[in-house]
Symmetry: C2
Subunit: 282 residues, 2 copies
């Protein structure tokens, strides 16, 4: 696996791949890789000639008081995992290479899609995401870029950005990968102590419970949210950030689940904020 040493080297190498007629698959990550990331890599490996994985804990998508400093990092372990997946190139730039002194160019997607859910809880988060992803697209020149459905709002924002700013590439969504007991895989799960880890199962349980009620005919969004709230409340340590149900196409409000909907929640256990979601169709 090639280590692309810096922005210029990476862009030059990717340009050469394109000139050689190869399709590029990009998997942007913040590292500390788990099976969720690896499923993105495997999908890229299947669909593209060349697979590039980026590892970059992007400071500008973290707010004040968030976990930028403590976000888990283990580059050599990540590197070994990517070697096993036959990744062609790893791009792990320095912050100073991505954001040199005086840096002041940003990409922002406005409207409901970034105002709700994590956009409401984490002001500026999606501006940081849209900016770094734009930079990664321009550096790595992917034909396809792979994102996990775990960060449902993120992939929606990126899809809208790609469509509206006309990036010449396709976004591929890859399903959530879960632990055997149902907890969605996340680099942040390592923050949880044993008791929190046990209680964190309520996220997936709440989503399953709500989905079951939809399947049994419940359409009322307020009642479905209340069902989820009760499941979460069964965990004494859980502090709800949001529990919401929105139109899965654009995060538009809905009172009845009469079209494809995104059920999404964010819950804190101590300092650890976990998210999970499920798409439901009727």
């Amino acid at each position: 696996m090639l280590i692309l040493d810096g922005v210029k080297v990476a862009q030059q190498w990717c340009l050469e791949q394109k000139r050689a007629g190869k399709s590029i698959g990009l998997v942007p990550t913040m590292g500390y890789l788990h099976q969720g990331h690896l499923s993105l890599v495997q999908e890229a490996r299947q669909q593209c000639d060349v697979v590039v994985v980026s590892i970059f804990v992007n400071p500008i998508q973290f707010g004040v008081g968030e976990d930028f400093e403590t976000y888990p990092r283990d580059l050599s372990r990540d590197q070994a995992l990517l070697e096993e997946e036959a990744v062609d190139a790893l791009f792990a730039p320095l912050i100073s290479d991505m954001y040199p002194p005086g840096y002041n160019s940003f990409v922002e997607v406005g409207g409901e899609i970034t105002a709700k859910l994590c956009g409401a809880s984490r002001p500026g988060h999606f501006k940081g995401v849209a900016t770094v992803v734009s930079k990664l697209f321009n550096i790595c020149l992917p034909d396809k870029a792979f994102f996990g459905q775990k960060d449902a709002q993120q992939v929606m924002v990126i899809e809208k950005m790609v469509r509206e700013l006309n990036f010449p590439l396709q976004i591929v969504r890859v399903p959530i990968v879960r632990e055997e007991d149902g907890l969605a895989k996340s680099s942040r799960n390592v923050y949880l102590d044993e008791e929190q880890r046990r209680q964190a199962l309520v996220l997936n349980q709440a989503l399953r419970e709500a989905e079951m009620h939809v399947q049994q005919g419940e359409r009322n969004v307020a009642r479905l949210k209340e069902i989820m709230r009760k499941v979460i409340a069964s965990s004494p340590q859980a502090v709800i950030d949001y529990i919401d149900i929105y139109d899965a196409a654009d995060l538009g409000d809905m009172e009845q689940v009469d079209r494809k909907a995104l059920m999404a929640l964010a819950v804190k256990f101590g300092n650890t904020r976990l998210i999970d979601n499920r798409l439901v169709e009727v």
Copy 2:
């Protein structure tokens, strides 16, 4: 000359050119072409295999009360001029194709470089420029894009954006083209009546006068601005928007012209706002 009918067709065609190993030169314009635009086209013709010219009067870079509605347009005349320059493809998209309903993705360069000069006079202008230029880059995939030094601040903003967002292309600056009497070519010159057209010569005269004083040893920015102000004031109809001298690299403030400087001015004659500038080195 091929007419690229819509965003998707244009992007597809440009992708094919790239796959065929051809370099693409893009000349983004708002149409109503004059010799200034054609000098960009000629430069692109010399430097690239394939030349694409875009014509798009970009609504989001015009403020309320500005001249978006009345901006001069003559597509068939433009088309004939571009045929003569052996342009390969013309891209003249509809507004609804560039900004479909619900459009909400923007690119913005912050800091001094957009806060001064036209950025101060025209709030939101450079956000509109950065956004449309990003879209044109993503659609037309240029190896080189050609911009006129006439819009000095615009080309600085775009160079910063390209550098910071890592667009895989090079910006080429092309010198100002002037009428025989010195007035900088501009599509907006057609707005001037005969008397205004005569008085508009003060822009270039003021810049020449200031440059002469620099050559003779004057370094004081305040005094140089005063020299320009006096020349402009000799025109009874001229209303000064700004007369400024900044660091040519980043629009940083300067009290002495002790490094490369941009002397720039914007002056209104009736409803017509004209800009002009000159780079001076010491």
